[in-house]
Amino acid sequence: MAHIPDGVLSLPVLAAGTLAGVGGLALGIRRLTDRDIPRTALLAAVFFIASSQAFSLGPTSVHLLLGGLTGLVLGWKAFPAIFVGLLLQTLLFGFGGLTTLGVDLVNMALPGVLLAAVVRPFIRVDRPARSAAFTGGAAALAVVITAVLVGVEIALSEPAFAPALGVMAAAYLPLAGIEAAVTAFVTLYLLKVKPEMIVAPAVLGTAI
């Protein structure tokens, strides 16, 4: 439900979201050097694949959002990467909408990017458990903030929905837990295998 379809949001919400999305994209693109183009594209492809894969959970299955992990690995370049993913999802699967691209982009990318910036200084190769705890926490919080953003946007567009949204937001909590665990394990793995992908100074490419 992180994708809001066309036709739900009101024009002011769409305008504000699009503006914020364009701002984030501009920041991300400014940090994209020639060297970063293939990297960002391939990582965007990985996040697209990983988040379109259903992971079974008990009787049902969930799709990961991976906003926190994307922010950790890509920094502000998560905005172009997630934009690409959203565009492809709209195009190939019809998830989400065309006019809501900016809003969806902000919902998905902003929490991850900001939280990743907060926890990045605490990620260290010699402290894997602490690093994983921080990234896992950031990933869970990113999911919750995404859910809250979606809820607030819908409530602003259609105030009548507001009471129903609390119930829907609660549905995100198990996902937050799963994201936290998966992101923590990815962190442990990367710290062992390719620490430069996730450790502080080397957010892929030249600058964060």
Binding site: H3, P5, D6, G7, V8, L11, L14, I29, L32, D34, I37, P38, R39, A41, L42, L43, A44, A45, V46, F48, I49, A50, Q53, F55, S56, L57, G58, V73, F83, V84, G85, L87, L88, T90, L91, L92, F93, G94, G97, L98, T99, E158, A160, F161, P163, A164, V167, M168, I178, A181, V182, T183, F185, V186, Y189, L190, V193, K194, M197, L204
Partner: protein, 251 residues
């Protein structure tokens, strides 16, 4: 997945006579108009227009239906909850549940609007191949670097998907079966981590190969498409339709 290879094989529809840029702009304009409409008659008319477009583009009915079901899935929860939760005068009370008429009205408006939007976007945009959309966005003035990232992603998604499949096969051969436990989450964590590592290493090789060939941040976007008479006609018609709909809606 529709990538470039599927491009040549894709049957051309009548909408393909238009410049892709026109299709993108018309779709955005129509959806933005729909968002502002409140009249059920106009929204129903928009649905009919969407169905006509879908027929015109030669999209199979089954694909249309699947797309619609997907979009309406989003609505389902809201649709059930909205009439129940709106704090407006109820018209029907069953125990603690109170169905309110204004709530129901809003839910219907929203359902019509979302259906109309999906029916407009499907034939105009979702029918395009990613490569074609990428080129059109580039020619519409999106930053070249962003377009480059988009085009590269399309190129590598299929490849990385194959990589993911191999990893998954390897996991299954070692007896992995997803369950609801920590081990499963750990395995998925390592799976995603390994996919990221492979992607980064491939990106490094791609980057080196491109630098050897003098890549400087952009590829030329080549197209035979021209903004022609048909495009002017369709753009004009869209403006007229949108203006008429907005005017009628205010009356």
């Amino acid at each position: 997945m529709a990538t470039d290879a599927a491009d040549a094989a894709a049957p051309t529809s009548r909408l393909d006579r238009l410049d892709t840029r026109t299709r993108v702009i018309v779709a955005v304009a129509l959806v933005l108009t729909l968002v502002s409409l409140r009249s059920w008659v106009l929204l129903s008319a928009a649905i009919v227009l969407g169905l006509l477009l879908t027929g015109f583009a030669g999209i199979p009915a089954r694909q249309t239906l699947r797309r619609l079901l997907h979009v309406e899935g989003f609505l389902l929860i809201l649709f059930v909850a909205l009439p129940l939760t709106t704090r407006l005068p109820p018209f029907l009370e069953i125990g603690p549940l109170a169905l309110s008429l204004p709530g129901l009205e809003r839910a219907v408006t929203l359902a019509l609007r979302i259906t109309a939007a999906a029916l407009v976007v499907l034939p105009l945009i979702s029918d395009l191949t990613p490569i074609r959309l990428g080129h059109a966005l580039g020619r519409l003035g999106l930053p070249p670097r962003l377009v480059q990232v988009f085009l590269f992603s399309i190129r590598y998604i299929e490849l990385l998907r194959a990589e993911a499949r191999r990893l998954h096969d390897a996991m299954r051969l070692r007896g992995f079966a997803p369950r609801t436990n920590l081990h499963t989450l750990k395995s998925y964590g390592h799976f995603i981590g390994q996919l990221l590592v492979r992607a980064i290493e491939r990106a490094e090789r791609v980057n080196e190969a491109m630098r050897c060939r003098g890549f400087a941040g952009r590829f030329p976007l080549v197209t035979l498409e021209r903004f022609g008479t048909a495009d002017v006609g369709v753009a004009g018609l869209t403006v007229l339709l949108a203006a008429a709909a907005l005017l009628l809606d205010r009356l």
